[in-house]
């Protein structure tokens, strides 16, 4: 039960806006932690703060016991943290192949194997290997973005709404991929698809208005109709 990543009273300003106003969160090694919350709650900003894109103004981000709050994004990424942004972050002018190439840090055998696996899982990517990223369909972009994060060895993966825009059957594949990754990687997941979240999540953290309002194990949440209705509008 090692804590891999810890957010301590995290606050983030973007320009003059106070977006995160106190995020308290811990990711346990080997688990999938799910961030939940309504639109504009600050889920994406939390992930961006971890990876260093919107640096924290107060509080700490601890990764493997060291503080990484003030580090540069590429430094943080090179510690072994991957990020799948909500807008997929595909390089539009580069082909699928080139997108993968830019992402791969070192072309080891293992990486090649992983690449083969993920292409097997998302055959569309293989099919459109030479197509410009900007011309992919919405779902294909999502797949590519996942694939890019998947091929590298990451200790921690931040995934922002992977199921968005995917056909139900592909959502299953994404879940499969995440389950596969989970073997070696700790994952923080932002997900609106509650079925998916509840199936693969170990713990959850609820964010509202830039603050952590609740957290606990996923099993608890599934059982707690009251909480679900109050914060997630389901049940």
């Amino acid at each position: 039960m090692n804590s891999l990543l810890k957010l301590d009273q995290l606050q983030t300003h973007i320009g003059q806006y106070h977006i995160l106003q106190g995020i308290q969160f811990e990711a346990i090694e080997g688990e999938v932690s799910v961030l939940l919350g309504r639109n504009g709650a600050g889920k994406t900003t939390t992930l961006k703060t971890i990876i260093g894109l919107t640096p924290a103004s107060h509080g700490k981000v601890m990764f493997e016991g060291q503080e990484i709050t003030k580090r540069k994004t590429y430094d943080i990424a090179n510690l072994g943290i991957g990020y799948v942004p909500e807008d997929q972050g595909i390089f539009k002018g580069l082909t699928v192949e080139e997108n993968m190439k830019v992402a791969i840090r070192k072309e080891t055998d293992e990486v090649c194997e992983k690449q083969a696996y993920i292409l097997e899982l998302f055959p569309d990517l293989k099919k459109f290997w030479k197509k410009a990223g900007g011309h992919l369909s919405g779902g294909q972009k999502q797949m590519l973005s996942m694939a890019r994060a998947f091929v590298n060895d990451s200790k921690l993966l931040l995934i922002d709404e992977p199921s968005k825009g995917l056909a139900p059957i592909v959502v299953e594949k994404v879940m499969e991929a995440i389950t596969e990754m989970k073997k070696k990687t700790t994952i923080i997941l932002v997900e609106q698809n509650f079925i998916m979240a509840s199936r693969i999540g170990d713990t959850y953290t609820l964010i509202d208005d830039g603050k952590t309002v609740h957290s606990g194990s996923m099993a608890e949440l599934i059982g707690d109709e009251e909480l679900k209705r109050k914060y997630l509008g389901i049940g």
Partner: protein, 343 residues
């Protein structure tokens, strides 16, 4: 809304400046300053016209000098061919405007389908061709040497000319300001922000771009006519890249998409140039005053990233929103993001 209050504040400032400018020639300690200010006004008109393209429609043109040049040549040629009367001068302004309107319409149709860089380069090419024509059509233009002509007698009085140009500037400013704050102007801004989306809202974007190009061209022609009068001389330099760069620099220094900015920019550049080169007479280190002039550009980018007016405006808005709504910082003000405005 807060916005309306801002507008009235703006109008008050506007009025004060106008009044100051009206008294300027009578209190200014020299006629040179009057002439310098006249020059500032003329380039303000040019820079404002450029702002319609760059700031409001998001078009970078490297060929704006051709419109300026057409205006200047039209006035010069008509005044030297016919009488140097006010009538001919006014006619020449109209003719210049019609002619540039026509040219910018054609050029617009030809070029405006292209994307940024390509458009910019094509305008460079076309204005380059105009420059060659001005050079080669020597029977009329006298080529690069150029020719002098007589201005209408009224304009011999520099103060009168000052007021004439001031009136042109104010009118051009008011007309253009209304133009950009009208529904049509809003569509131009939409084109700048996201042309494809504007199209899918049902606007024929090409038409808007051509309109912007015509308006910019016509106004540039006016400034060209005035410029010719101010020198009573014209040569190929009115078509040169330098004129385009001047317009561009003035617009950017003042702040793109602000309309007041180009006026401020023109003021800053002309005054800086005047005084820096003047300093060279007294202090030898200013012999290379152009170095300081170049540094001015660099400093403006660093301290006024959105141009002088743009940056001050943003600071003002931030300050105001902090003052008026300290409790709700998330209720955002329209802060233009540091995103690129060209594409």
């Amino acid at each position: 809304m807060g916005q309306e209050k801002y507008y009235s504040l703006k109008n008050v400032i506007f009025l004060i400046i106008i009044i100051a400018l009206i008294f300027f020639p009578y209190v200014a300690d020299s006629r040179t300053l009057t002439i310098l200010m006249t020059q500032v006004f003329i380039f303000s008109i040019l820079a404002m016209s450029y702002d319609i393209l760059l700031g409001y429609t998001g078009i970078v043109s490297f060929g704006h000098a051709m419109f300026f040049g057409i205006g200047a040549y039209t006035t010069a040629i008509l005044l030297s061919m016919y009488d140097n009367t006010m009538m001919i001068f006014l006619i020449s302004i109209i003719v210049g405007m019609i002619f540039t309107g026509f040219v910018s319409f054609l050029v617009g149709l030809l070029t405006l389908r292209l994307k940024s860089h390509f458009f910019a380069m094509l305008t460079l090419a076309i204005s380059g061709l105009f420059l060659v024509v001005a050079e080669k059509w020597r029977t009329v233009t006298k080529g690069n040497d150029g020719f002098t002509f007589r201005a209408p007698d009224l304009f011999r009085d520099r103060v009168f000319f000052y007021f004439f140009v001031l009136v042109c500037l104010v009118v051009a400013f008011l007309v253009l300001r209304r133009f950009v704050t009208s529904p049509l102007g809003k569509v131009l801004i939409a084109v700048r922000e996201n042309e494809q989306r504007t199209r899918s809202l049902g606007f024929r974007t090409l038409h808007y771009k051509v309109i912007a190009s015509i308006v910019a061209g016509v106004v540039a022609s006016l400034s060209g006519s005035l410029y010719a009068i101010s020198l009573r001389f014209v040569n190929t330099s009115v078509m040169s890249m330098d004129i385009t760069l001047d317009a561009l620099l003035m617009t950017i220094i003042g702040g793109v998409g602000t309309l007041v900015g180009p006026i401020v920019g023109s003021f800053v550049i002309e005054i800086a140039q005047h005084y820096l080169s003047g300093l060279a007479n007294d202090y030898p280190i200013f012999e290379r005053w152009i170095i300081f002039f170049g540094m001015l550009y660099i400093l403006v980018v660093i301290f006024f990233p959105k141009g002088i007016v743009g940056t001050v405006y943003v600071k003002y808005l931030t300050w105001k929103s902090k003052k008026s709504r300290p409790q709700q910082p998330k209720q955002s003000v329209p802060l233009v993001k540091d995103k690129e405005r060209l594409e």
